[in-house]
């Protein structure tokens, strides 16, 4: 039998051997990646050769879909949340040849993420932004990347986050062109909303429901369209019987399909918005159970809780007044409901019949879209309110909660 000393020696030998192996492998990988990395391309070419990564994109120009595809290289886009939706969003933009991507996430890659696209098992343990940058740089070295591994909702990080939105554009010091929210929680969405309202930054929100069978994207132009705080969170009704939906024992489900679809419609909207083709959607829902895609547009709420949203609305009004529309647009009459407790006005994308069909305490929304919950109108108007006032106008599901305020 070997003595302890002998075993120690053997361990040391094996350790040294391991180090040598690792070094050899690293050197090989470096050489390989040098070979695989194509050099940067100065100017996008439309030439159809198998070495041109942009030929099929530039073909959009020849076909008359996009006027100036090369313009994509002049845009900087911030992707907040590099999870199931954000990572795929970043990959699509990278492959499209976007100018610059700013990635924000504080999470690490986990094996539990492997039911989603993009990340690979060997990246487990790496920060998501670091792993994503590595993969994306390999795919397209023409894109510049800036990564931030932190939670944007805390005080100091939020200040830095705002600063990068304001100054992290293609040309340092200029704002980014678009912010994309690909986060998975209400707090982070509200933080992005707050930042964008303060900065007057146009952004797009995206989301997948916790039951993984619905999702949405939304374009938010501060002061013009409803911000994330203008109404309770909008949800795409999945037409699932509440009674059969079991929530015990889990937080959230996820499907690579739903996340991929949502990333797809998000980036499609980004391309249409940046490159000015087709119709940009203000709100596009995805109901995976029925394969239904409801759309709508919602104006900002003059009573929005966010002060900066209300200020942006004033600014927008001024801008509108300064530059009267030249074109004569045939406008449909705006549908304003008298009992509209939200003060939300729906822009004419739905018919009267559809609006009529949606009744109750909720704001009027097209079929297939609803709010996650409602808030009694008086709560929003009055700052100081007595407990008994809180009892009115809840919807039936929450009747049991009334008890809490009984005196």
């Amino acid at each position: 039998m070997a003595t302890v000393e002998e075993l120690k020696l053997r361990v040391r030998e094996l350790e040294n051997e391991l180090i040598k192996c690792k070094q050899k492998q690293c050197a090989m990988e470096d050489a390989q990646s040098l070979e695989l990395h194509r050099p940067k391309i100065e100017k996008m070419s439309a030439e159809v050769v198998d070495s041109n990564p942009y030929s099929r994109l530039m073909a959009l120009k020849r076909m008359g879909i996009v006027d100036d595809y090369e313009k994509i290289r002049t845009f900087a886009v911030a992707v907040v949340g590099v999870g199931g939706v954000g990572s795929v969003t970043a990959e699509m933009l990278t492959r499209c040849g976007i100018g610059k991507l700013l990635l924000f996430d504080y999470d690490k890659v986990e094996l539990a993420n492997m039911n989603r696209l993009f990340f690979q098992p060997h990246q487990a343990g790496l920060s998501k932004v670091e792993a994503a940058e590595h993969t994306l740089r390999n795919i397209n070295p023409d894109v510049s990347f800036e990564t931030h591994n932190y939670n944007i909702t805390t005080m100091e990080n939020f200040t830095h986050f705002m600063d990068r939105i304001r100054h992290g554009g293609m040309e340092e010091g200029k704002p980014v062109d678009l912010v994309l929210s690909c986060v998975d929680n209400f707090e982070a969405r509200m933080a992005i909303n707050k930042a964008c309202n303060e900065l007057g930054q146009i952004w797009m929100e995206s989301g997948v429901s916790e039951n993984a069978v619905s999702g949405h994207i939304q374009l938010i132009i501060p002061g013009e369209t409803a911000c994330f705080a203008c109404a309770p969170p909008l949800v795409v009704a999945a037409n699932i019987d509440e009674k059969t939906l079991k929530r015990e024992g889990v937080c959230a489900a996820s499907l690579p399909t739903t996340m991929g679809v949502v990333a797809g419609i998000l980036v499609q909207n980004v391309l249409k918005y940046l490159l000015k083709f087709g119709t940009v959607s203000y709100y596009l829902g995805y109901n995976a159970m029925q394969d239904f895609f409801p759309t709508m547009a919602m104006k900002a709420n003059p009573q929005c809780n966010d002060r900066h949203c209300r200020e942006q609305q004033e600014e927008y009004k001024k801008r509108e007044a300064e530059c009267p529309k030249v074109e004569v647009v045939q406008e449909e009459e705006e549908v304003v409901h008298e009992d509209n407790e939200w003060g939300i006005e729906l822009v004419s994308e739905v018919t009267d019949a559809e609006l009529q069909a949606a009744t109750g305490d909720r704001p009027e929304l097209p079929e297939g879209i609803t709010v996650a919950y409602t808030i009694p109108a008086e709560v929003r108007v009055a700052q100081h309110i007595t407990a008994s006032q809180v009892l009115t106008s809840f919807y039936h599901r929450d009747l049991q909660m009334h008890l809490w305020f009984d005196k």
Binding site: T154, V250, M401, F405
Partner: protein, 169 residues
């Protein structure tokens, strides 16, 4: 969502008045004062009802909170460290309470040990902005979560009582 005792306890917590988050330099100290008053009231109330179950304290600017909560199960005491940051969106959104030592031990948790609250919590919080504060978060968020999760984790043998002299009853 919550039992009768919780409802009663919550109805006795003072409601907060100042609608200010940590970025509001002038009003935040006032809000912080109200938070402490409500928390102290709630803890005193719990003690009086022989149901003292948590302690919280914050850094000087009130943006980071740490503390301890404990849970009595079959006469044994289980103690956990808790922590959370006040998000810039507070009080429009509630902080995400984390119990880091239970991270990865239950599905009712998000990354970093953040507890997963019930569907009822978000609407309830939203309807009560800015009147709900950290004491309400403890009573309606962490309390009910512990009551459901800890017995389950104990029965599965995932949570074991540490032999820390002073944690015994």
């Amino acid at each position: 969502m919550a039992d009768e005792a919780t409802r009663k306890a919550v109805s006795q917590i003072p409601l907060l008045k100042t609608n200010a988050g940590p970025r509001d330099r002038t009003l935040w100290p006032q809000r912080l004062k109200e938070e402490y008053q409500a928390l102290i009231h709630f803890v005193e109330q719990n003690k009086a009802a022989d149901n003292d179950w948590f302690r919280l304290e914050s850094n000087p600017d009130g943006t980071r909170w740490t503390g301890t909560c404990w849970f009595i199960h079959e006469l044994l005491r289980y103690e956990f460290q808790i922590e959370f940051d006040i998000p810039v969106t507070y009080p429009d959104t509630a902080p995400e309470v984390a119990v880091p030592e239970l991270d990865g031990k239950t599905a009712k948790m998000y990354r970093g040990g953040k507890i997963c609250l019930t569907d009822h919590f978000a609407p309830l919080w939203a309807r009560n902005v800015p009147r709900f504060g950290l004491a309400h978060l403890m009573a309606l968020g962490l309390g009910p979560w512990l009551a459901v999760e800890i017995p389950d984790l104990i029965s599965k043998g995932i949570v074991q009582r540490e032999k820390r002299g002073n944690t015994y009853l």
